[in-house]
Subunit: 395 residues, 2 copies
C-alpha cells in the first residue's frame, strides 16, 4: 500500500491545523491565539459595548466572503480568503439591521455553547427570530437573512460553524478499522453492519475523538450505493482501511472528518468518483476547498487527497463495453472547461489530459458502470489495482 | 406511557405479516406459501421454458401496478393492490422487449441471491444491460426502462425488492434502547453517539434482526435536524424509546423497519411531523402505504401509527408567536384538499378538523419552529405532554 504521501501525526488537538513542508513557507492566514468560541463572542460584543460607552459608533469588522476576496494559495494548495474586510456600523441606516442581526446570532450561539446544545441553521433562525417590541418588524424575515450572518460570524470570529454549535443536515456514512467516540459513546466502526455510522455534522475534537486506528488509508467514494458495495464485500477488512461516502458533494461534517483523519491519523485519502465534471468538482472541493467557504479550507481541505478513478482511459484500458457510456451534453462540456480553468487544475498536465480525454470520448462514466464487468469488479480488481500503482492516480 | 395500541408479538419471522383484530375479518391478498425469492424466480422461468417446450407462446403474468388497480382496504386499513393482471407474451411485437427485459432482470436477481450480494437499482440496470449480439440494440436504453421491470418482478413474485437483493439509496438514522444485528455485527443502538446508525436499505430478517429491546415505543421524526435535537437531549434514554427519522419522506428501508418494530417488537409508532400537507402525506404513507407501491403495503405500512404533532391548534394552545408562521400558497391549499379526499382521511372528523384549521390559519408550521419557545421545548415539554394525553393524537 503506497503511503508516502501521508504525514504521520499523532497530536490530538485537531483544531489547530498542522503545517506541511510546503505550507511552512507561508504564514497562516490567522495567527490569532486559539480561543474558545464563546470567549471570542464575548470579546466581539465587549468591543461593541466599549464603543457605545465611549459614545463612538459601535461597529463590527467582517472579512469579505466574496469571489474577489478568495484566491488559491499555491504553496499551501488550498483556496483561501484574502484580507479585505467590511465594517458594519450601528449608526448607518444601510447597515443597522445586519449589525443587529449579527449581534443576535452571536447571542444565540453563545447561549448554545453555554447550554452545551447544538441546533441546525434553520433552528438558529427560529431561535433568533422575534418581533421588535412596539413594531411589526421581525428581526429576521426568513432563513435567507440568517444564513449569511452565520457565515459572517464564522469568519469574523475565525471559528467554524460547528464550534458555534450550529450544524448542517448530516449526510454520509463511515465504516472501517477505526474506533471513535462521539458524545461519550465509544463506537467500533468495524462492527457497524450494512448501514455504517451516520457521519455527524459536528465532528470537532471536543465531541468526536479518534481511538484505536489500525487502518492504513481512507477510501472515499461518491455515493451511498457504491459505499454499500465496498462495505458488503468487506473491502475495508481485506485492505485494512476506512470507507466513507458523502452522498454526492460531501457536507461539512464529512469534509472535516476526512481532514482530521488525514491530519491527525496520518491516513492518505483516496477518492473514487464518477468520471464526469461533477466528480471532478467533488474532488476539487475535498482537496482545495470551495470558493464560497474559502475561510474554512484550512480546516476542511485535504490538499494531499488523490483521485484514483474513474479515469477516462479506463474505457480502453479495461475494455469496457459501450454500455458504460452516458453521452455528455453542452452543460457538461461547459462545466468541464470551467474546471480546467480553475487555478488549481490549470497547468496540471495529467488533469488537462484527463478532462480532454473525457471531452474527446463524448461520454461520461459512473463508478457503478463497472458493474458491467461483474458485480464485484470494482472492489476485487479495479480499486486494488489502482491502489498498487501510484502512477495511475491523479493529484 | 400509553401503549394500548401496540400488539405484543415476539415471533421472529417478520416476513409473514401478522394479522390484527381488524384484519382477521378479511383474507390476506396473497395466501401463497412463503417461498425463497430465488425459488420463485426459478418457478417463473420454468413456466416460460415449459411453454416453449410445448411450443406454446411463453408468457409472464404481471399484476397491474396502476391507480385503477389500487384501493384502500378499510378493514386492514392499508392501500392494497387489486387482482387485475396483464400478460406479457413473447410472440407479441409490442411486448417481446419487456418480456425479454423481465427475464433478464429476473436472471440478474437470481445471480445476486446466489452470490449473496446486493446492488442498487442503478447497479441492476448496469448488470442487466448489454448489446444484443449482431445488432446495435441495447437490452435497456436507460434506467427508466429497468426500474419499472424491477417493480413488475416484485409484484409478479410477491417478493419485496429487498428480497430480490436490490436496494435503494439509504437515508435516515436510528438510535435508542435496542440492540440489532446487521450482517452479523451486533450493534447497540444505545451507544451510537451523535450520528446514530444509518438505516440500511435492506432490513429483512435474514440480514437484520432484533436482539435486546427495552424500549416502550418508537418516536419517528421527519428530519435529521429534529432527530439530532432529540438524540442530543437523550430523549430516548429519559423516555425509554427508539428514535428514527427518514430525511423527509422515509425510504423503503425506514418504512420496513418501522413496520417490523411495530409488528415484531410490539412497539407503538408515534410520528412527529411538520404541520403542512407534506407532513400529512408522510404520515399517510407510513400508515397506509402509497398508491404506487400498493403491493408493498402489507409489509411496509403501520396502520396503527399515530400522529402526535405538530397540530394546527398548537399555535393557540401553546401561545406560539407569529414567528412560527409560514404562509401557505395555492399549491399547499390544493395538496391539502387532495389529502382530505383520500379515502383513508375522508370521514375522519379529527383529520378533517385538523386540515381545515391549517387552511383557516393560512399558515403552516415546522417542528423546528418550536425552538421559538426554547431550545429544548420540543423534547422537554411538547412531546412528553403529547405522549401523556392520548386525546391529543390523530389517528
Amino acid at each position: 500500500m503506497a503511503k508516502k504521501t501521508a504525514r504521520k501525526k499523532t497530536t490530538k488537538a485537531g483544531t489547530t491545523s498542522k503545517t506541511t513542508a510546503a505550507t511552512r513557507k507561508t504564514p497562516r492566514r490567522s495567527t490569532r491565539k486559539k480561543q474558545p468560541a464563546n470567549e471570542k463572542i464575548v470579546a466581539l460584543v465587549d468591543s461593541v459595548v466599549a464603543d457605545a460607552a465611549k459614545k463612538r459608533d459601535p461597529s463590527i469588522v467582517i472579512p469579505m466572503r466574496t469571489l474577489s476576496n478568495a484566491h488559491y494559495n499555491k504553496a499551501r494548495r488550498i483556496i483561501e480568503m484574502g484580507d479585505r474586510t467590511a465594517t458594519r456600523n450601528f449608526f448607518d441606516l444601510n447597515k443597522a439591521k445586519t449589525f443587529m442581526q449579527t449581534v443576535l446570532i452571536a447571542g444565540g450561539c453563545k447561549k448554545l455553547i453555554e447550554e452545551g446544545k447544538t441546533v441546525s441553521i434553520r433552528g438558529l433562525y427560529y431561535l433568533s427570530k422575534h418581533t421588535i417590541p412596539g413594531t411589526n418588524e421581525k428581526t429576521f424575515n426568513d432563513q435567507n437573512e440568517s444564513d449569511p450572518v452565520i457565515e459572517d460570524l464564522e469568519v469574523a470570529l475565525d471559528a467554524l460553524r460547528e464550534e458555534l454549535h450550529v450544524f448542517a443536515d448530516s449526510r454520509g456514512s463511515i465504516a472501517g478499522n477505526l474506533t471513535v467516540t462521539s458524545r461519550g459513546d465509544e463506537i467500533d466502526l468495524r462492527r457497524m453492519g450494512a448501514g455504517g455510522m451516520g457521519i455527524p455534522s459536528i465532528v470537532e475534537p471536543d465531541v468526536f475523538t479518534f481511538k484505536k486506528c489500525n487502518a492504513k488509508f481512507v477510501l472515499h467514494v461518491e455515493k451511498g450505493t457504491v459505499w454499500a458495495r465496498f462495505n458488503e464485500d468487506k473491502f475495508w477488512q481485506k485492505h485494512n482501511c476506512i470507507l466513507t461516502h458523502g452522498s454526492g458533494q460531501p457536507p461539512r461534517g464529512v469534509r472535516r472528518l476526512l481532514h482530521r483523519m488525514h491530519d491527525e491519523l496520518g491516513l492518505p485519502i483516496y477518492c473514487l468518483l464518477d468520471n464526469d465534471p461533477w466528480g471532478y468538482y467533488i474532488y476539487s472541493v475535498i482537496k482545495q476547498g470551495s470558493i464560497n467557504l474559502a475561510f474554512e479550507s484550512k480546516r476542511m481541505a485535504v490538499p494531499d487527497a488523490r483521485f484514483i478513478g474513474v479515469r477516462s482511459k479506463d474505457y480502453e484500458e479495461y475494455g469496457l463495453s459501450d454500455d458504460v457510456k452516458i453521452a455528455i451534453d453542452d452543460k457538461d462540456i461547459k462545466r468541464a472547461k470551467q474546471i480546467l480553468n480553475y487555478p488549481w487544475f490549470k497547468g496540471k498536465k495529467d488533469w488537462e489530459k484527463e478532462i480532454a480525454a473525457m471531452l474527446k470520448h463524448g461520454f461520461k462514466m459512473e463508478v457503478e458502470s463497472l458493474l458491467t464487468k461483474s458485480i464485484s469488479f470494482v472492489t476485487e480488481t479495479y480499486v486494488p489495482q489502482r491502489l498498487r500503482h501510484r502512477g495511475k492516480w491523479l493529484d
